[in-house]
């Protein structure tokens, strides 16, 4: 049973405006009205707050109008469609399920292809995929020349097929029967470039990782994507989408330069004047990363790709995009700058513990008053915009990923090489604590810092407030660290919980 709550935003315009105004008030208060402390530390705070102001304003802009008029839609639209299922070593049964579901889609004129990249990706099961394609009676296109990763795989298939429209599913995204019925009609408008649908994770309740991954997605595939329709700025998300071949061809095919080919290609298509639409209804069900390593890699890939767009092909300077589209692209890509901002924010209490340096000298509680009201409204808006689907786990995963995003930022700036593999569709067992060393380190340094600060300055109000801030980060990071722990440890905890419940009942 799919829970569609996340698709209904309840954030009213007065609430959105109030949040934006309070964000502005908070920033102006900090920047101009409070006596500044150490200039360097103040600069750090000001940078982070300027970023959060941008995030709040751009978020408000995105969710301003989530219900837009439905574009032209022809129920009887029946032009030819090639359905591409991209495969690169995913387990056979997973691919088979997707293929079988794709075959069952109700539409008159479509053909299913498996884009088998197992050979070039050196996966063992590439032959089995070919065999399975035969069994299922679908075509299989197997690349022999590598290059361009998933984008290269799609471009290769494009060169061998010719339907006017192309549907792309990742190997694990099982389409509903009515996927084509509910999406193809939008192409009645000849300028429609692509239609995107939500990337739903049916295994979201499997474990802490899947929950964290999905709960973050809910905000994006809910209010944010729906809101992008108002700016004609919905972008492709790699799977569960339909593309107009003409638009894709005009854009030069899928972008093979960028790791997040969908994002870069969408921008190109929009810049050429094509339209897009986000159809806010779950029409395919996929799998979230089930283990910490896969989640880590996925986040690294997305952040690196988005930041590359921001650094190397900044939407602001892309000709052909409207101002609203530029803002929407920058808003989405700049989300990944939050990593460095979280890091700076988390470091501020530590700087205070060890040096006594504070960004502001505020003796009254005015700043706290504005901050709390602002935060309350922000969280309330966030809750409303996701119909109360956004959770603490999502916040925790988002903030705790600071090290991943920061790593992506530095490698983007230095143009460092990173190997990316597709997200694993089955859980990889192991101890992934090495991936959360920055988070663990933070907790360790905080403990030392607290002891140091108390012994040096005593339990002053400044020390206590900073302990609270550091504690907030530590508690938030601990959820993430727990998720990275060896599965055995987590299972032990879960079994313990179940036993306790059994005893109680």
């Amino acid at each position: 049973m799919i829970n569609n709550n996340f698709l209904i935003s309840k954030a009213s315009k007065p609430i959105i405006v109030s949040t934006a105004l309070l964000a502005l008030t908070y920033f102006i208060s900090i920047a101009f009205f409070f006596p500044k402390g150490n200039p360097f530390v103040f600069a750090l705070l000001a940078i982070t707050q300027a970023f959060y102001l941008w995030m709040t304003l751009s978020f408000s802009f995105s969710i301003w109008k989530t219900e837009t008029p439905v574009p032209l839609f022809n129920k009887r639209f029946a032009r030819s469609v090639d359905v591409f299922i991209t495969v690169a070593g995913e387990p056979l049964d997973i691919v088979r399920e997707t293929v079988q579901a794709a075959k069952k889609m109700s539409y008159l004129n479509f053909k299913v292809y498996i884009l088998n990249d197992g050979y070039v990706a050196k996966k063992d099961n590439w032959k089995e995929i070919i065999e399975m394609a035969k069994q299922e009676g679908v075509s299989c296109i197997t690349r022999t020349k590598p290059g361009g990763a998933k984008a290269g795989n799609i471009n290769h298939a494009l060169s061998l097929t010719k339907a006017a429209y192309v549907v792309i599913f990742d190997a694990d995204h099982v389409p509903h029967k009515d996927f084509l019925k509910k999406t193809m009609g939008y192409f009645e408008d000849p300028k429609m470039g692509f239609v995107q649908t939500p990337q739903y994770y049916k295994n979201f309740n499997r474990n802490d990782i899947t929950k964290g991954a999905w709960e973050q997605q809910e905000l994006f595939f809910g209010a944010i994507c729906k809101g992008k329709n108002a700016s004609n700025a919905a972008f492709m998300c790699g799977t569960n989408m339909v593309l107009n071949r003409a638009a894709l061809t005009a854009a030069g095919g899928m972008n093979e330069e960028n790791i997040t080919e969908d994002f870069a290609t969408s921008m190109k298509i929009h810049s050429l004047g094509w339209k897009s639409y986000y159809h806010g209804e779950v029409l395919a069900e996929g799998l979230a990363p089930e283990d910490f390593l896969s989640y880590y890699k996925q986040q690294l890939r997305w952040s690196r790709g988005s930041l590359e767009v921001l650094v190397q092909n900044n939407p602001l300077f892309v000709k052909g995009l409207s101002l609203r589209q530029k803002l929407q692209y920058i808003a989405s890509a700049s989300y990944y700058l939050s990593g460095i901002m979280v890091l700076i924010n988390a470091l501020l209490p530590l700087i205070f513990f060890f040096t006594g340096l504070a960004p502001l000298h505020v003796s009254t509680m005015t700043l706290a008053t504005v901050f709390i009201i602002y935060m309350f409204l922000s969280i309330y808006t966030l809750s409303l915009s996701t119909n109360f689907s956004y959770t603490y786990t999502a916040v925790s995963f988002s903030l705790s990923s600071f090290a991943i995003f920061t790593r992506a930022l530095f490698s983007t700036i230095t143009r460092g090489k990173q190997n990316f593999s597709i997200t694993s569709k089955t859980a990889i067992e192991g101890n992934f604590l090495n991936l959360v060393i920055p988070n663990i380190l933070y907790i360790g340094v905080t403990i030392i810092g607290v002891v140091f600060a108390i012994s040096r300055w005593g339990l002053t109000d400044g020390v206590v407030t900073n302990i609270c801030w550091a504690l907030f980060h530590c508690i938030t990071f601990s959820v993430f660290i727990f998720a990275a722990m060896p599965k055995g440890f987590q299972q032990f905890n879960r079994i313990k919980k179940i036993n306790l419940r059994t005893i109680k009942s």
Partner: protein, 499 residues
């Protein structure tokens, strides 16, 4: 219906009754052994003085004050049976406070289920702030109880409508507006909530509310007329300074941790980022089915009723300072119930941890507030007067400032020494307390100089001129003694003339 989780959460269990009984007995014992025996405080002395008059005079006196008369009338009759002692008057308040515990349980249970009700009842019973005013001979415990009952009927109206609930609401609202002027802020929260959430109410609710509002207005008019005729309490208003944002945080701090020394208060207030953590932690789904957690509409009401009066009074205070923490006491039930609801949404481990830490902190604060001599609100006039009974002679004079602090001093003092106030105030004069004049101070003291040997100056409740008096006396007379009896009650002795 009886077996649904919702219905079960509304059924009072034996455990609930036992816990409530323990809390009520605990509160009573704390009062009996500690709080009832404290020195009379200024406000209490006023209550005793005001209620000692006949009913018509009492009404006139209260009309000149900044309060409404219900509590005074009730206390007047209580005293007719139980005497005019301060302990008796405090027991009168204690009864309301003890009843507050089951009342808030009922309110919390009605709104969010028995667990939230029990948690709010626990916080109420161990709240240092409520315990303090629960044993004070003032109207505050009555106000809290009436507010809770009024809110209970309000929530019942949302749930079921029914005439008896409207009647209950009307009667408690009437009691509320005659308990304290600030009760109007409680009504305002309800009005705002009603218009925001009209859909949650029964169809004809607006009609009933309008009738109730009109009825309350008509019944309040005679009192308003009396107040206007008495001069709008212009001579009896206490000095209230303009609040700062610190006061807002301090009010919340007081609601939970009561009156502590300034260092501890600062420390507690500096914990404010924890509020942010609570807000973020409240973002969660119901883990049992992965669905969003439903937020009952009444949650918004409790947030509104808990916070809005504070903010409104804060803003109004920039025009007319009126921000006094104790006047906002009626917000506490809403704050506790809202907090109880938030904590109830946390996963069990976090919920238990937060509850345990909060309860321990509040118990510690309560113990400290009750036992510490440094508790800022303690006014030890009794000790000051005991000292004067021993030291002051017939040739001396006791000078009291602020003038209205003469009430608690007179309550205890039965010696031969004359008592004067600066500025010189005749309580039976309708013109009220004269304004302090620095220019007239030397002349006022000079008059005393010819008659008395030593001036025993008791300074408390600074109305902005206590320091002027002390400085003048220090500069012109020899200080022969000084003693502090509590943080706000200080005694200075000056030799006016030599034999």
């Amino acid at each position: 219906m009886a077996n649904t989780p919702e219905a079960k959460s509304k059924q009072t269990t034996l455990f609930d009754i036992i816990v409530l009984a323990v809390l009520m007995v605990g509160v009573t014992l704390l009062s009996v052994f500690y709080l009832l025996h404290q020195s009379l405080r200024l406000d209490e002395a006023q209550s005793l003085w005001q209620t000692a008059h006949t009913l018509p005079v009492l009404l006139k006196i209260v009309a000149k004050d900044v309060h409404v008369p219900l509590y005074h009338i009730m206390l007047h009759f209580w005293q007719a049976f139980f005497g005019n002692s301060i302990s008796g008057a405090r027991v009168f308040s204690l009864i309301f406070f003890v009843l507050t515990i089951p009342a808030i349980f009922a309110l919390g249970k009605e709104a969010f289920g028995r667990k939230v009700g029990l948690f709010a009842a626990t916080l109420t019973a161990i709240s240092p702030f409520l315990n303090w005013y629960g044993s004070e001979a003032r109207m505050y415990s009555l106000l809290v109880l009436v507010t809770i009952l009024n809110q209970w009927f309000f929530i019942r109206i949302i749930r079921a409508g029914r005439k008896r609930n409207y009647w209950g609401y009307a009667i408690t609202a009437l009691l509320g507006i005659f308990s304290h002027y600030f009760f109007f802020f409680a009504l305002l929260s309800q009005i705002i909530f009603f218009f925001i959430n009209k859909k949650s109410f029964p169809e004809n609710a607006l009609k009933y509310f309008v009738r109730i509002g009109a009825g309350l207005f008509v019944l309040f008019i005679p009192w308003l007329v009396l107040v206007f005729r008495s001069g709008l309490a212009s001579q009896t208003q206490p000095l209230i300074t303009k609040p700062t944002t610190y006061n807002l945080f301090n009010t919340i701090n007081l609601f939970f941790f009561g009156f502590q020394g300034s260092d501890l208060t600062k420390l507690l207030i500096s914990l404010w980022p924890i509020i942010f953590l609570f807000l973020v932690l409240a973002l969660r789904k119901d883990r049992r089915n992965g669905e969003r957690r439903r937020i009952p509409p009444v949650t918004g009401y409790f947030l509104l009723a808990g916070v809005m009066p504070m903010i409104l009074v804060f803003l109004i205070s920039f025009v007319k300072p009126s921000y006094l923490d104790r006047y906002l006491i009626f917000s506490i039930p809403s704050v506790f119930i809202f907090f109880g609801w938030i904590v109830a949404t946390y996963p069990p481990k976090i919920k238990n941890f937060v509850s345990a830490v909060l309860i321990l902190l509040m118990l510690f604060s309560l113990g400290k507030e009750v036992t510490s001599a440094a508790t800022p609100v303690k006014e030890d006039y009794r000790a000051a007067v005991d000292y004067l009974q021993q030291k002051a002679g017939i040739q001396d004079v006791i000078i009291v400032s602020a003038p209205f602090t003469v009430y608690p001093i007179e309550y205890y003092y039965h010696g031969p020494t004359s008592i004067q106030t600066i500025p010189n105030w005749n309580r039976y004069d309708t013109t009220g307390i004269p304004a302090f004049s620095e220019a007239e101070l030397p002349a006022d003291v000079d008059k005393l100089k010819s008659q008395y040997r030593i001036a025993w100056v008791i300074l408390s409740y600074d109305q902005g001129y206590n320091e002027n008096i002390r400085t003048y006396m220090d500069q012109h007379y020899q200080r022969v003694d000084q003693k502090s009896f509590s943080q706000n009650v200080n005694l200075y002795a000056y030799k006016l003339k030599y034999n």
